[in-house]
């Protein structure tokens, strides 16, 4: 990659949680993170309603109904999965209804190329009959995954607000369970992990290379 880019992965777990236990010391005690990382953690808040802590490579945010772990370090994508699997191996009785994998990327792109990309995914001819100077601000497309597990995939494309000029693309894969079984959902995510990452990058490449307009 010669362009500037910020690449990240987030795992979201929807269920019923106790945010107050999510403290760096708890993670370190259970061997989920290194001791030096736990000591270097910045704790924004650990409270009955919300926990938010930033370790050198992961940001954890836990509310009563939602657990979210994010990293912006491509060398740690697999460790993020290990961390989440490890957390819920300990909290194995947690009632969980859904798990999501989200791949985010901000990539530098000239405004000219970005305009071509925008025209490719949302042609303006029809809009030009209704609006002066139509511009695409955000697009969200949803469908079933073509690769990996059979799950719902949501793709969002917008101009980046972090790299200007640039494009932001987000790909979310949603895994649902009627059984409310966290182990089952995380096993599904683990089995689908490599395919999910590969498919997300394939989708981004197709969008950025103009594969949508052909």
């Amino acid at each position: 990659v010669s362009e500037a880019q910020i690449e990240g992965v987030t795992i979201v777990v929807v269920g019923s949680f106790n945010p107050a236990i999510f403290h760096p010391a708890w993670l370190s005690t259970h061997n989920l993170v290194r001791r030096d990382e736990a000591e270097a953690a910045k704790v924004e808040v650990v409270h009955a309603e919300l926990a938010s802590l930033v370790l050198p490579w992961v940001h954890l945010q836990v509310a009563r109904d939602r657990f979210q772990a994010s990293t912006l370090d491509p060398a740690h994508f697999d460790h993020l999965l290990d961390l989440v699997v490890g957390v819920f191996a300990i909290l194995a009785e947690t009632p969980v209804t859904a798990v999501g994998f989200t791949y985010n990327i901000h990539r530098e792109m000239s405004t000219e190329k970005r305009d071509v990309l925008g025209d490719g995914i949302a042609p303006k001819e029809g809009w030009a009959l209704l609006l002066e100077h139509p511009k695409l601000r955000s697009m969200t497309m949803q469908g079933r995954a073509q690769r990996g597990a059979d799950c719902l995939v949501t793709v969002t494309v917008e101009p980046s607000v972090r790299i200007e000029p640039g494009v932001y693309t987000q790909i979310n894969r949603h895994y649902q369970s009627a059984e409310r079984n966290v182990a089952r959902l995380l096993t599904d995510l683990k089995a689908d992990w490599a395919a999910a990452l590969e498919d997300a990058r394939r989708i981004v490449q197709a969008i950025h290379d103009g594969g949508m307009s052909s």
Binding site: V13, H30, R35, E44, V54, L72, G86, N104, D115, P159
Partner: protein, 202 residues
Amino acid sequence: MNFDRAISQTMGRQEIVSGLPRATTGIEQPVRNSAPDFYEAPDFYWVPPEKREIEPAAGNESPTTAAPTNSPRHTEVPLIRKPPVELVPRQLEVLQRFEGTVRSVHQPAGEMVVELRDLTHPDAPREVAILELSDVSDPDLEMVAPGAVFYWTIGYEVRTGTRQKTRISELRFRRYPTWKQRDVDQIQREADALASFFGSAR
């Protein structure tokens, strides 16, 4: 791109739009993404409800969609500004990535024999290699034992601003919760039950 300041109405709430473009094609800068901004939630706790810059849920989003990392910072001035704590992005051009399993450790020689699985080329055959223990970072040395799993990333790290590339090779061990004696006992009981079942069925 030339921007004008403009005010628009969205969902009955007035908001400042950072600009309208003069260009006629392509994508325009969004005001923000439509999902509630969980990612920045801690900031909101210090802002009165009527001042919070949080949008109602669109209603048709997947509940596991991560909050977008594409949201601009808030334009409202909160009563108390809590310093933002954010992850520092790392731009990495990954050339090759392996998953390794330690086969044996030779402390006197400062080496370990490992089996490598190429994650970049999953069809490639597994390889056996000898790695130096000095390649393992100090906090991970306690993890080095037969059966331990690690990730080995080789690539270029690109420094923000200068765009200077640095070749990197990182080993990091996988961490799982420590086994408790009760877990081991439970597995032993299950194994005994299975052994008994198959033994009696024979």
